[in-house]
Every structure is written in structure tokens, then in C-alpha cells.
Symmetry: C2
Subunit: 136 residues, 2 copies
């Protein structure tokens, strides 16, 4: 994750304790935390960090493409540090767990030109739903 901090610095961004902590908290595989979960974990390391700063920092990381926003339910958005390898999500309808998955083929290829209504289609997001081993 210090890659990320280095990239932030290269963009002229100040390295603050808050940004460092948000980057640390978001490290790992299959990590899909809400902003408030990030805040709670950040507070454990830096008690005075504010909710607004967590939102700001997450927003910055999203805008430079280091983190992706994932909306799997009608609830809070989730933040995903796995931004370098394109992937889709498998969500448990029971407990809400989210796993990264890599379907084969390009999902865009399944949409014929006749079904594009003149749009310039640039991306496809797929959410697979089902029950995880614990919930089934």
C-alpha cells in the first residue's frame, strides 16, 4: 500500500497521518468496506480522524483510480482497493459477503450492436448473487 502513498505524493498530495491510515486500513484481498467501516478501523489507529476526512480521502483515491466504488445493495457504497485487475463481484444474499471474481470473456461482447440503441458502450459491471457456504 505504500505504492499508493507514493503515487499520491507524485500527484502533489500531502502525506498526512489521516491519508496514511486510510490507505493502511484498506489494504488486503477481497476488501470491500463501507466508508463508516473504514472510519471505525481508522479510529483504532488515529482516534481523532473525522468522518469527513475518510470520505474525502476515499473520494480522492477513487478519482485517481486506486480504489473502486462498489454498490452491491441499496445500502452504503463499498470501497475496493483491488483497482488494478478488472473483476466482478459475487455477493451473498444472506450475509452480504463480497468476493472478487473473474468471469471469462468480455462481458461487453454479449451485448449485440442492435441492443445498443446508438450508445457508445464502454463498460459492464456484473453482480453475481447467491448464498455463501455458511449461509446455505
Amino acid at each position: 500500500m505504500s505504492d499508493l502513498l507514493e503515487r499520491l505524493r507524485e500527484r502533489g498530495w500531502r502525506l498526512t497521518a489521516q491519508r496514511r491510515v486510510v490507505a493502511e486500513v484498506l489494504d488486503g484481498d477481497h476488501v470491500h468496506l463501507t466508508a463508516d467501516e473504514v472510519h471505525a478501523r481508522a479510529i483504532a489507529r488515529l482516534p481523532e480522524i473525522s468522518r469527513a476526512t475518510v470520505y474525502n480521502t476515499l473520494g480522492e483515491m477513487v478519482s485517481i483510480g486506486e480504489v473502486v466504488e462498489v454498490a452491491t445493495d441499496g445500502r452504503a457504497k463499498r470501497y475496493d482497493p483491488n483497482a488494478h485487475r478488472p473483476h466482478q463481484h459475487l455477493v451473498c444474499s444472506g450475509c452480504g459477503t463480497v468476493r472478487d471474481v473473474h468471469p471469462h470473456g468480455d462481458p461487453l461482447a454479449a451485448l449485440p450492436a442492435a441492443e445498443r440503441f446508438g450508445f457508445t458502450v464502454s463498460a459492464a459491471e456484473v453482480t453475481y448473487r447467491g448464498l455463501c457456504p455458511d449461509c446455505s
Copy 2:
């Protein structure tokens, strides 16, 4: 849409002016209105209808499978009367317009067993993103 009202009655539900108006407002193709948009249009026909009733009625229609909820952005959910024919959505990143699309093949088929992590996968939702003719 009186099909829908008939089905509601068969389930023992009272036919009220409010439910009738919500069903009427939601009729058509490529209709993906937010609850507040439904409310605004319903008010034009029945000025005293409340927001709570619109939410209640939409929720009932969703629970009997006559309407589907669609979350295309991080904003308000949209309500889609096209519940009988399975389909996916194409969303304009500029203006937010939503079109129904029918990709070929089963989107579930693209997810190999090795990528299912022991889940019982039952559905896949695909959101295609791009720019509509007006926005590009």
C-alpha cells in the same frame, strides 16, 4: 396494467384509488422511475396521495414480482414494470437514461466453478455503461 390490479385483487388486496394510480403511472416500456418521480406523476392524477403510500405500493408490487427494483447509481432506486421478461440495463453516464437490453447467452455461464468459492450462485445482474446518442 389492469392485469396487475387483477393480480393484486386475487391476492386479497384492496383496490384503492392510490394503488390504481401507481400502477397506471408505472406503465410503459423502458420505464425506470424513482419513487419520487412516481409520486410526482401520481399527484398529477390524485393530488392527495402520500409519499408513504407510493413507497408502500411499490414495495408490494416488488414483493409479488410485478415490478423490479433497479439500482443504477448511488442515488435513489428505480422501479421497473418490465418484470416478466428478464433483461439487463444500459445506463448513460451523461444523463442517467436507462434502457432495457437483452444480451445473448446466460451471464451466469461466464463464471467458472473455480470462481464460485462454494457459493450457490443464482443470478447475475449486468449494468452496461456508456454515452447515449444525445450525450456523446
